[in-house]
Symmetry: C2
Subunit: 428 residues, 2 copies
């Protein structure tokens, strides 16, 4: 039924052309009557010079820090005003449907605050490590930049990502159903170096990172995680952290829920037990069917979503060569495989994973196929390097009941109509 191709495999140009036939009928126009001639007679768009070929553009002095094209003004983070009481304690979603590859540009990274974006002067900012340590320490930003640093690409996902979808298909686009995630390259000092410097007491088992903003965000982080791969990061995608991502310093807790990645990081207290902070008691727990709550569910489970086509990015053609793409990630490692179905799960096809495969990072996948023009029921299903298979939402409901808000990593279904429009649906 589907005609799947994989770039890089040995296909003849002829077979590719056969495959691409549908695409060309609707898309790339063959220049009539012009074969192998330098003097082709293409359409006006190519023969008549545009205004941009007849005038000088802006010079290099115009934008010391560049900005996107004026034709890309729709590519922005979006918030949902009814979701929270105030914009200072709210969420701004990544436009996943407008992105490709695995790097989220800094200006489009999902943001979530509890008291707005703190404006912190890096010259005045300090990081203190205290508690069960030999020597409490206070670091300036310059101090931290004298420690050995590393660079790692990690996804950050809010535990509440897709939370509204527990009730069934709700929101009209992957920006809102899955946009509480971003993926950047961090530069930072491994937290273990700073803890070694302070000297950890043998009784130490937990850390409490604290933010410098007005909400004073705190979470309990187990020591083993801190000694494993946590970073005290000061740069993202090459440049200084953005204000809404904790400038000048944030904790990076790879693969674990975003709420623990404390921003505007000012203090790390070392203790022997968890603090039971607000954000790990009244929030970020999973109320089960029997009335008990799962706690400390830190790891983000393996998940994926098709980003294109999707409700905000419908297909512009009605048959032929078509690209389905999306992202997959796991808090436990890399992505081993992504399967895609276009018939609601009757048949599954192995997607093409593309770009670097990095630990605890987004992975980009594609499914290139020849659309027959009939409605599609699209899903993606990710499998991570531990062998964990992304479940259906109903499988999750069966295991956890119907009270949950957090940790919905269930399979997402999009329905593509014959006219290319896409809607959020759920298969019972």
């Amino acid at each position: 039924m589907t005609n799947k191709i994989k770039p890089g495999q040995s296909e003849s140009a002829a077979s590719r052309r056969t495959f691409l036939k549908g695409g060309l009928a609707a898309g790339g126009a063959i220049v009539a009557g012009a074969t192998a001639a330098r003097s082709a007679t293409p359409d006006k768009a190519i023969t008549e010079p545009h205004e941009w070929a007849q005038t000088l553009g802006e010079g290099v002095d115009a934008r010391p820090y560049g900005t996107p094209s004026e034709f890309e003004k729709h590519v922005v983070r979006r918030n949902v005003s009814w979701l929270t009481a105030t914009p200072e304690s709210s969420v701004n979603f990544t436009p996943l449907h407008e992105l490709d590859g695995i790097i989220t540009p800094n200006g489009l990274c999902f943001e979530r605050h509890h008291a707005g974006i703190a404006v912190v002067d890096p010259a005045k900012h300090r990081l203190m490590i205290n508690g069960l340590v030999d020597k409490p320490l206070v670091f300036t930003m310059d101090d931290l930049k004298r420690f050995p640093r590393v660079n790692k690409v990690f996804f950050l996902e809010c535990a509440a990502n897709s939370g509204m979808e527990w009730r069934g298909a709700q929101l009209n686009g992957c920006q809102f159903t899955h946009g509480m995630v971003h993926n950047v390259m961090y530069t930072g000092v491994p937290l273990k170096y700073l803890l070694e410097e302070a000297g950890i007491k043998s009784s130490a088992k937990w850390l409490m990172p604290e933010g410098a903003d007005a909400s004073g965000m705190t979470r309990s982080v187990p020591l083993f995680k801190a000694l494993d791969d946590c970073l005290v990061a000061f740069a993202m995608n090459g440049e200084a952290l953005r204000p809404e991502q904790g400038y000048p310093l944030r904790l990076v807790v790879p693969g674990w829920e975003g709420n623990m990645w404390v921003k505007w990081l000012r203090r790390i207290e070392v203790g022997d037990q968890p603090w039971h902070a607000r954000e790990e008691t009244s929030k970020y727990t999973d109320l089960m069917e029997n009335g008990k709550a799962r706690r400390f569910t830190w790891e983000m489970d393996c998940k994926s979503v098709i980003t294109n086509p999707s409700p905000q990015a419908p297909l512009k053609h009605t048959q032929g060569q078509t690209v389905i793409t999306g992202v997959a990630w796991s808090g436990r490692g890399t992505i081993k495989r992504v399967d895609v179905t276009i018939d609601g799960g009757k048949n599954w096809h192995t997607a093409r994973l593309d770009g670097p495969s990095l630990d605890k990072s987004l992975h980009r996948f594609y499914f290139d196929f020849n659309w027959d023009g009939k409605p599609l029921l699209m899903q993606s299903r990710a499998i991570d390097s531990t062998g964990y298979v992304q479940p259906t939402k109903n499988e999750l409901r069966k295991a956890r009941g119907t009270n949950s808000i957090y940790h919905n990593n269930g399979i997402q279904t999009w329905h593509v109509r014959e006219n290319g429009a896409v809607e959020n649906v759920e298969i019972s």
Copy 2:
């Protein structure tokens, strides 16, 4: 003489503390009298709440597309007004000394234009393939997005990068000596798919990509390169290309000089011989001592530079724990090793390569050492996966004479004074 450490190696906290002693004397302050107490008595910066902890910050509705912190206003591209006649035909340099990791943020990517930044409407833009093909084709942007696409991180370096340094140490900062390079993740369609679609005649050997801007940039690209790894790219670092990088479409010619990466790509003509365009005859050739010019020197040779410390980013301390960092790249593959000297080449130390090692990409390196406070003569020397060793500038002059402008990949020397100031020097 140097006390080098490598993160990840099994070092005891004690030995690390010994190493870090110098750093702490000048940097991270030990909180006086507070040992293992939760009630430490640190300095005012940590005990007295800052203004940012007492007020609400901006909400998520403030910046749909985010911007850097107000404290990072100095992190910008810079141009040199005396270098070119007009800003519309000029260069804006990447602030390498302000960056870390290997991703260049889109707003800070080196830019070079010949007639300013063309403002191209993607809905009107077309790409034509004509010449020695079976079927000349015209593609819309939507057409191109129906072809299988890939994601790759590549450096782009202008052949003239470091060109002014042929005459000896000239410019006061790596932004100006080495800032005609950037490194981003591209999303695009392999050019070979489009050429296969058009059907290449057996006599075809060359391509001429042409830009849609007023300069109508053209370069001759050999067919073998196009069939190997060239991309027709529409996204960088996840989002649409920036205007100054050819929005909505540019040619990506991995590892080859940036001038060939035609921006605002509107046409690719297929031919049987090179076109001998302006940019490959009067420009982008290397005049040798005997009066003959090297031509078609496309590949960018293996190169490296220390970005910190450097003239624009002096050391802020005068001894102890110190991080030296920089970037290395090669148009022929990956970086196998980077050596660093701090004594003008008497002793060389293997630098720590960090972050993903990607083909034809920047690689980040670090040399973490204990500075004795005496002046330093710092150099880095990169070795790529083919075994090629980055030469000295004098070795290059011996081989190519003194007429060259392009392809200076010689070793850069920075002199660090006792007060931390850094200057551009050359060792004879």
